[in-house]
């Protein structure tokens, strides 16, 4: 419940503040968001599996975001930023889908 409230508060804050993304962060924010989504779904799955651990959640959340951003940064430096971003998004997307499937099996037994 607190998680849902936090989500709502974050969305409201973003809508109200309408902050400008600093240029240095601009290329990494989209990937970081996708990575965080992945971590969130992973956490939800862990809750349903009964193995949720806040430390693991925090670490996976932070490391997902950082690694995704780092990969994009590395790709930009190597000149393959666009392709690497696509790759990261594809992998994270697959993970989100499999997590979502596990959650669905838990909740709907299907």
């Amino acid at each position: 419940m607190i998680a849902a409230v936090g989500l709502a508060v974050g969305v409201l804050l973003g809508l109200l503040l309408q902050p400008d993304v600093p240029p240095a962060v601009q290329p990494y924010l989209p990937i970081a968001v996708v990575a965080a989504l992945d971590a969130l779904f992973g956490g939800l799955r862990a809750v349903l599996d009964g193995i949720f651990d806040d430390k693991v959640f925090l670490v996976s959340f932070a490391s997902n975001v950082l690694v995704a951003a780092f990969i994009v940064y590395l790709g930009d430096q190597l000149g393959v930023g666009a392709q690497l971003s696509t790759g990261v998004v594809v992998v994270l997307g697959i993970r989100i889908f499999s997590n979502a499937a596990a959650i669905r099996r838990h909740l709907f037994r299907a």
Binding site: M1, G10, V33, D54
Partner: protein, 276 residues
């Protein structure tokens, strides 16, 4: 509504909803979810809330960023591609613009040329109309008045005068009687002067003496041509008339001549070889 199986029977069937929490040893997913959602002040709940808030914030910010995407948020490669596109389009538009300008120039030139040709043709036709006597004419010239109270000046003398004036560059002439009776007659290349009873017949019109000849041309040249020793004035004098020449700045020739259509002659193409 009836089906082969009869009215639908109440009760559990193959399509009956599954119970949400079937009896079992392990708690169901919903129960776990419910328990996890129950607000408690534990560390993990607060942590999850904070992280979820962060995620929501980031998502909204990124969505706003994407919605207001301008060139600043694009990658270098994309920018290069856009620049290429713009350059290409500009080249295409430049080429089209050059083509249109050329077409415009062409049209202007051709219209100028047509205009010039039309002007030349109009000028030529006016010149020819003056020569043929079909339009009124105005310009500097002289007035030659021949007083002839006794009707002694013959047509020959008048014809001589006209020939002399033509030699001197007369461009348009008209002959009238000074009595004010009868019409003025335009004198053109084909005009004939014939002695007649009570005057001179000019192109079938009787002109009674005396005579007034209006001439357009260089006044000095014309009057000089008339006044040469043994010339027209002398001839008129000899014939018994009294000639007066007045140089005028503006002579108006209003008498017109009807043109008859050419019956046999028609314009020939100068480039066409003559028939053998």
């Amino acid at each position: 509504m009836s089906t082969p199986y009869g009215p639908q029977a109440p009760g559990p069937g193959p399509q009956a909803p599954r119970p949400l929490a079937p009896a079992g040893t392990s708690p169901s997913g919903w129960a776990r979810l419910g328990r996890a959602m129950r607000p408690r002040g534990t560390r993990s709940q607060v942590l999850a809330g904070v992280l979820c808030g962060l995620l929501g914030f980031a998502v909204v910010v990124q969505v706003g960023q994407t919605a207001g995407a301008d060139l600043g948020s694009l990658r270098e490669a994309d920018l290069v591609r856009i620049l290429d596109d713009v350059g290409e389009r500009q080249e295409r538009l430049d080429a089209e613009s050059a083509r249109l300008v050329a077409t415009r120039e062409e049209l202007l030139t051709s219209s100028d040329r047509r205009e010039a040709a039309r002007d030349a043709a109009r000028e030529r036709s006016q010149l020819l109309a003056i020569l043929a006597g079909t339009v009124p004419a105005v310009g500097p010239g002289i007035r030659l008045v021949i007083g002839d109270p006794d009707g002694e000046v013959p047509a020959r003398v008048l014809l001589d005068a006209v020939q002399e004036l033509r030699n001197a560059g007369a461009e348009a002439m008209q002959l009238a009687g000074t009595t004010g009776q009868g019409d003025a007659v335009r004198v053109v290349a084909s005009t004939a002067f014939v002695d007649a009873a009570g005057g001179i017949e000019v192109d079938g019109t009787l002109v009674q003496p005396g005579y007034e000849l209006l001439v357009i041309g260089d006044p000095a040249t014309l009057s000089t041509a008339l006044g040469i020793p043994g010339g027209v004035l002398v001839a008129i004098d000899t014939a018994g008339g009294r000639a007066t020449v007045t140089e005028l700045d503006e002579v108006r020739i209003t008498a017109l001549r009807q043109l008859s259509d050419a019956e046999y002659a028609r314009p020939a193409d100068p480039a066409e070889p003559a028939a053998p």
